[in-house]
């Protein structure tokens, strides 16, 4: 039993008195050892899902998107719902790596590598949906402004759908570059510890011949800082543009000006939930409790309760405007098609409300924020809720449009529509399993960088400051300046 005074203000970001060597040892453990049984089981399941997805997409391409249950008013269904959902999930990675870097939030180092990987895989999954929605995927290059002999025939640069093409592809490219440039020094660490010739060669190629030279580090830091600076407005722009796909239309339920901020908040919300789900598993499976601490989990839960509440305010604002505008169509969409529990899709609206707005409020309690089981459960709930949100926005606005004679009957997906979604889960987790096996899931160099300033020794320093008499502290501060 020790009666040491513990700081209430800041807890260390890395637990335990660690040396640099130990950090390397701990984080590279999963790479240098044979994967566990659990890893094989997970990998097998996710590749099976992926294969099913490939088959669903094969059917879709062969027979056309008549394979899906889209109908005359619900022309966007699960496909676009899933697209927006995956893109949203991607946002947390960039937020953690870019915005928190600019805000100098030290806690990001524990989770940024995995979160960025998650971003890339999620955007990869998201991209599938609009592409295969085109029906004739081999014509997908028509969306690119390539010099051509078709006319001249160019894409319409004034269309939000084309903005989307640019936004998503830029986002994927920049995230990939950002992630990989951070990965280079860590891959070099793996290379220099490699035992076999083959691993040496592979990591040698992957690490670009990184040596850790001071000049290179200086440039590397500058590169990462500028990429973070670029990614910050980029991540905001991407979901803003995704929301433009809806907001620039004249469909009641879509045609609202609050969409951009509301979509961005929702994206961060679902993204953090996904990071939580993944990190809780990673820290358990790979034994990284010292690096992904309860403090990290709590910090992310704070973001979740904040963004969840922003999203809640947006929902209520929409409802209010549906009434206040006295626009019949808006009122019908918001109050009848959505908020009315007994309307055909009322269940999805209230499912969304329960998962996104009500349930995250339990994170106002510190004990809940720091409870791993609650956090994991909530992270799944939030992602279900955010999926519902996109479904509500898309389907409830479409299935009863301006012309009642074309109102469609109840839209429910076909097995191939579901199969496609399931397949992207397969893709996502297959990628994530590969990543967790072959690359350091935590940024080794960055942990070493904060080790001395935010590790256990930092805790001792803070403790010293907090226990010394106030006059002395003030005195010291005065002399320091």
């Amino acid at each position: 039993m020790h009666l040491k005074y513990e700081s209430q203000l800041r807890e260390p970001l890395v637990y335990g008195e660690k040396t640099y060597g130990q950090v390397t040892e701990d984080i590279l453990k999963p790479i240098e050892r044979k994967p566990s049984k659990l890893w094989y089981v997970g990998f097998f399941i996710s590749s099976a899902l992926l294969l099913f997805g490939v088959y669903s997409v094969y059917r879709d391409v062969t027979y056309g998107i008549g394979q899906w249950n889209l109908n005359k008013t619900v022309g966007w269904g699960w496909d676009i719902t899933n697209f927006v959902w995956w893109v949203g999930i991607g946002h947390a990675g960039t937020l953690i790596s870019a915005i928190l870097l600019l805000f100098r939030q030290g806690w990001r180092t524990g989770v940024n590598r995995a979160a960025e990987a998650m971003t890339i895989f999620a955007v990869l999954c998201a991209g599938q949906f609009p592409v295969f929605h085109m029906g004739r995927v081999w014509m997908a290059f028509y969306t690119l402004p390539l010099p051509n002999t078709r006319g001249p025939l160019w894409p319409n640069f004034n269309s939000p759908l084309l903005w989307d093409v640019f936004a998503i592809s830029t986002y994927l490219t920049v995230s990939l570059l950002f992630w990989y440039s951070g990965l280079i020094p860590d891959l070099a660490t793996v290379r220099d510890r490699a035992k076999t010739k083959f691993t040496k060669l592979m990591y040698g190629i992957g690490s670009f011949g990184w040596s850790g030279s001071t000049k290179h580090w200086q440039r590397h830091e500058s590169l990462c800082l500028v990429l973070a600076g670029l990614s910050t407005p980029l991540v905001l722009s991407v979901h803003t543009i995704v929301s433009f796909d809806f907001a620039t239309s004249v469909i009641p339920g879509w045609h609202t000006t609050i969409f951009p901020p509301y979509f961005v908040a929702g994206a961060v919300f679902s993204g953090f939930a996904m990071v939580q789900s993944l990190m809780l598993v990673v820290r358990k499976v790979f034994g990284m409790e010292d690096y992904i601490t309860i403090g990290h989990i709590e910090a992310m839960n704070k973001v979740i309760v904040l963004t969840g509440s922003i999203v809640g305010v947006a929902y209520l604002t929409e409802l209010f405007m549906g009434w206040y505008s006295q626009n019949k169509y808006e009122g019908y969409t918001f109050w009848y098609s959505r908020a009315n529990l007994f309307s055909p899709y009322g269940w999805s609206y209230w499912g969304m409300m329960a998962c996104n707005v009500l349930s995250p409020q339990i994170f106002w309690f510190r004990s809940m924020r720091r409870n791993i089981f609650v956090t994991f459960f909530m992270s799944v709930i939030v992602n279900i809720g955010m999926w519902f949100e996109r479904f509500v926005i898309i389907v409830t606005s479409l299935y009863r449009d301006y012309l009642p004679s074309s109102w469609s009957i109840y839209y429910s997906p076909s097995p191939w529509e579901i199969g496609f979604f399931v397949g992207t889960f397969g893709l996502f987790f297959t990628c994530f399993f590969m990543f967790s096996k072959y690359a350091p899931v935590i940024a080794v160099a960055e942990i070493k960088y904060i080790l001395k300033t935010s590790g256990e020794s930092f805790k001792n320093k803070i403790t010293k400051i907090e226990t010394e008499p106030l006059d002395k502290f003030v005195d010291e501060q005065k002399h320091a300046h």
Binding site: R136, R191, S211, W217, Q218, V226
Partner: protein, 392 residues
Amino acid sequence: MAIKKFVVGCFTDEKELFPAVKTIRKSGFKIHDVYTPYPVHGLDTALGLRETSLHTAGFIYALIGLCTAFGGIGWILTIDWPQNYGGKPHFALPAWIPIMFECTVLFSAVGMVLTFCYICQIGPLVKKHRFHLRATDDYFVMVIECTQQTNTHDLEGLLKSLGACETKTETVESGWWLGRYDLPAPSVASAVIALILITSLSACSNGDAGREQNRVYMPDMAYSRAVETYDDKEHITNKGIFYNAEPAKGSIARGSDIPFLIAKDTPGSTLNYLAAQKIINPITSLSSDDQEEAHRLYLVYCGICHGQKYDGNGPLYKDGSGPFPAKPATLVGDPKYDAMPEGQMFYSVTYGKNLMGSYASQLTTKQRWMVIKYIKMQQEAVSKPQTNTNSK
């Protein structure tokens, strides 16, 4: 190539590294580089390195991206392909902002990363000389370049006294800092050539031979699963195609009348018959042309029983001497029928009443309502003759 000699000193802590760097530089030695496992802040200034200008390059790339997007879109939408999108101006700058922004970011990021790789001379398959493998793990490796005069032994001693845990002297071929290929060039080249050969061979057409195969993959929707015009709904459903052919419940075709929503009573019940009393005739008045038409319809379809004079004594009944067994209703003059709501009459004409059959197949909804209005007008003409001007 020239061979150079280096003295290497490894440190385990930043706290020892910084004073060591200071002392070594003061003593007049040339520090070639310090290899560290993470970016050590202040080390670049301690080594006398100047600020990097990589971010300036990033800014320039960003400007290039912005100009490319603006120039490209501007040229395409105003000169090469001036399309009319909903009457909006060709030069629609606000709508171009999203793509201009994305291109700015894209060019800057890609350009900076490529520049970074170039100036650091790093890339896939590049291998650099490493003085100590633990430089990427937990050592801070200081490398000092020796001249002819340097006494390596003394220097190593100095480093040890400054806290270095490990020292050594190494000779390295100069020019290596540009890196060299990790794989021998011939094997890379042969791999590339083999790849090109395989792709070009597989792309070669073997004339019409390939066309005879009756195996088709990805047939570009050659076999249509599209719904044929007037295809039977059940047939489509059986083919496993979802096709929503039905109009929404309660929808009315353009130009048609509001449907009569009351169903026929089940035998023995009069529930719907009574409910029909509440239905109002959508036709509130008849023009003289309409009256003529209603009169004609009445004579064709009803008069044979109900009589020309609406007295229920048409040729088919003729006071019981006709072939019809039951007395048709006296439509005018009988208080029961004078008081009967139009909706209820409509019900009887639509579904039939005892011995009177249904007229729904002979008369359209509108015609039925017209005839009923007409009968009502005759009833009124008799009960209030002073207001009657149109009776026939």
